[in-house]
Subunit: 207 residues, 4 copies
DNA sequence: CATGAATGAGGGTTCATTCAT
DNA sequence: AATGAATGAACCCTCATTCAT
C-alpha cells in the first residue's frame, strides 16, 4: 500500500535505466571499455555513482550486456533487410542500406561494436568473435544461395563473406569519420553494393 | 679504443632496448594497451621496472612509438611489394602476399596494429586514423593508375581501396584466429587476389 | 472510539517495531555489527528500507539500544535467579541454570552480547565494559556475602567473579557451537556449578 | 650488478615489513578488522598506501596471517611454560604467568586474538575456533595428566579447561583495562593460580 | 646503468542515509 | 505510514611513475 507501484514508478525506473544504458553506450563507444569510467557514465547520465550500482551489478556486466544487445540489434536489423528480398543484388543492396542507416542514425552502436569492445575483457573476447562470426554468416547466406542457384559462379562463400564484413565495416567507419556522414550515405550504399556484386562476379542487373 | 668501447656500449644498449621493444610489442598485441602493464613488459624482458624508465619515457610514448614503427614496417613492406610490379593483378597479388606473410610470421605486429591500439588513448587516435589512411592509399594508388590507363573501368578508387583495406584486415584476422594459419596462407592470398580483381572489374588474366 | 483506534495503531506500530528489532538481533548476532547491513535487517523483517528509518534513527543507535536492552534482559534474568535463593550453592546453580537456559532458547541474545558487539563501534565500548562490569558484579555479590558469613574462606571476590564471568561465557559459547546444545545443557549446568563451588573452596553440600 | 642486493637491502625490507606488521597488529587490535582501514595502517606505519600492497597481498590476507602468527606465538609461549614443569601446580602457575606476561608486554597481541578477530570475516571464523580449541587443549593436557596420576579427582577435563580458558581471558582483559596493568600482574597470576587449583580440587601445596 | 622499494592518483564498488511519492 | 529510488562519502586495490642506492 502507499506508493502505487508497478505503474508510473516502474515505467519511470525503466525509462531511467534505458537512459543510463544509452548514455553508457555513448561513453563506451567514445572511449572504449577501459578508458570509460563508471564516473564518466554517471556524469553523462547526470546521476550519482550509487545510482549506477542500483541499476546495474557492475561495469563489466553492463558492458557485456550492452555489447550483446547492441550486436543483436545490428545483426537482426541487417538480417531482416536481407531476408526481405530474394534476389542477390537486392539482398546486398538492402543489407548494406540497413547497416549504413544504423551507422548514420546510431553511430555509437556501430562504434561500440567495432571499436569499443576491442581488447576490453577476456570474458568479452568470446562475445566479440561470436559477433564477427554472425556478421560473416549474415553475408554468407545469400552468397551460398546464389552459388547454389547458379546466380554467381562457384567461390569460397565463407572467405568472401569475411571480406565483405571487413570491407563494409571499414567503409562505414570511414564514413563516420567524415564531418557529415548522412551526406555521403546514399553514395556509400550504392558503391558498396556495386562493389560487392562485382566481387562475386554477379552478372545480372544491379538494383 | 674509446670510441670502440662506447660503440660496443651503444650496441649493447641498443640491443637491450630493441629486445625490450620486441617484448613490449608482444605484450601490447596480446592484451591491448590498457590491460598490458609496464610490469608485464619488464617481466617479459627480464629486467627491472626502473630499467624500463631508463630506456623509455613512459608507457604511452613507448606504445605510440611502437605503433608508428610497426605501422611503418607493415606499410613499407606491402608498398614495396606492390611497387615491385607494374601490372595491377601482380600488384595486388604481391601486396596481399606481403601482408599475409607478415601476419603469419609476425602475428604480433598485425595484432598490435589492428586490435592492440583500438580505443587505447586519445593521443593515438590520430596515429590510428593516419595508419588507416596510409593503408587505404596503399591500395588506392594501383587502382587509380589502372583506372587512368583504362585497365579497369572508372570507379571510386578511394572507396574501393577502403573496402579492400577492411576486407584484407578481416580475412587476415580470421586467418590468425585459426589453429595453423600458415596452412591456409597460400589459399587466402589467392582468394583475396581474385576477390579484389573481380571487385574492380578487372578483365585481364589473373596471376 | 478515538483512543481505542489510536491504541490499536500504537499496538500495531509497536508490534512491527518489535518484530524488526527481533529480526535485527538475529542479523547482528549472526554477522556482527559491521558485516550486518541495514538491508539485511529489512530483508529479514520483510519491510522496505525506508521503514527502518521511520522506526529507528540509524543503524548504530539501534544496535546500541538492542545491546543495552538485551544486556538488561540477560542480567536481570540471571540476577533474579540468583536472588531467588539465599544459599551460595543454590545461588550459583540457579544463576548458571538461568544463563544456560537463555543460551539454549535465545542463542542470538547471547551471541549478540558476547560476540556481536566486539570491536563494533567506539560508542559501544563503554556499554560493553559496562555489561562486563555488571556481569562480574552479578557473581560477585553472592561471593562477597558468602565470604562475609564465613561460608567460604576469604578471597578476592572481585577477581574470582571475573574468572567466573569469563568461564561461564566460554563454556556457553562452546555449548552453542555444538550441534545440539540442549542435549548437553543439563550437564553443563551441573559441571559449572560444581566447578564454581570448588573454585571458591565451598565446603557445604552441593545442590 | 649494481645494488648489492640480498644484504642490507633485504634486511631493511624485512625490517620494514616487520614494522608494518607490528603497526597493523596495533591497529587491528585497537579497532577490529572492519573498522581498521588500510589507510589507518599505513598512517601508523608512516608509509604510502601503495607500500602496503607492495608488502602484503591484501588486507584480509594480512589479517589472517597476523592472527595465525600471533596465535601461534601466544599458544607456544604458554605451552612451553607449562611443559617446563611436571607438577600440576607449577604447570598452571607457569602457564598463567606466561599468559599474563604477554598481556602486559604485548597487550595488542592479546587484544588482537581476543577481540580484534571477532566477527571479522567468514574465512577467519575457522581460525578463530581453531585458536579457541588449541587454547582449551593447552590447559586440558595437564589436567588430564593429573587426573590420570590421581593428583586430582576425576572430572570433565575438557569442560574445566574451557572454563579456565574463558576465565583467564576475562581476567586478563580486565587487567588490561586497568590504568597500570603491570602493577597488578603478579597478584593476578597468584590469584588465578590458586583459583584454578581450587577449582580442580587440588590437594597438594600451592607454589 | 640497473635496481626495486616507495608513492599516490584514481578506479570500481559498498552501504548508511535521505526524501519525494 | 510506508516505499524504494537516489545519493555520495569512503573503502579496497591497481598501476604508472620516481628516486635513492
Amino acid at each position: 500500500m502507499a506508493y502505487r507501484s508497478s505503474d508510473k514508478t516502474r515505467q519511470k525506473k525503466d525509462a531511467k535505466r534505458t537512459a543510463m544504458m544509452q548514455a553508457a553506450v555513448q561513453v563506451f563507444a567514445e572511449s572504449g571499455y577501459h578508458a570509460a569510467t563508471v564516473r564518466d557514465i554517471v556524469k553523462a547520465s547526470d546521476v550519482a555513482i550509487g545510482t549506477f550500482y542500483f541499476y546495474f551489478p557492475d561495469k563489466e556486466t553492463l558492458f557485456v550486456h550492452l555489447y550483446e544487445e547492441t550486436a543483436d540489434f545490428l545483426l537482426q536489423t541487417i538480417d531482416q533487410a536481407i531476408r526481405s528480398r530474394s534476389e542477390l543484388a537486392q539482398q546486398f543492396s538492402r543489407g548494406i542500406q540497413a547497416y549504413v542507416n544504423i551507422a548514420v542514425f546510431e553511430p555509437a552502436v556501430v562504434r561500440l561494436l567495432l571499436v569499443g569492445g576491442v581488447g576490453a575483457i577476456p570474458s568479452l573476447e568470446i562475445k566479440r568473435s561470436n559477433f564477427r562470426e554472425r556478421m560473416v554468416r549474415l553475408w554468407q547466406r545469400p552468397l551460398d544461395q546464389a552459388i547454389d542457384t547458379g546466380t554467381i559462379p562457384n567461390q569460397n562463400g565463407r572467405r568472401v563473406a569475411e571480406a565483405f564484413a571487413g570491407a563494409f565495416d571499414e567503409v562505414i567507419l570511414q564514413l563516420l569519420a567524415m564531418p557529415e556522414p548522412d551526406m555521403e550515405a546514399a553514395a556509400v550504399v550504392q558503391e558498396l553494393t556495386l562493389f560487392s556484386l562485382r566481387a562475386v562476379a554477379y552478372k545480372g542487373t544491379p538494383p
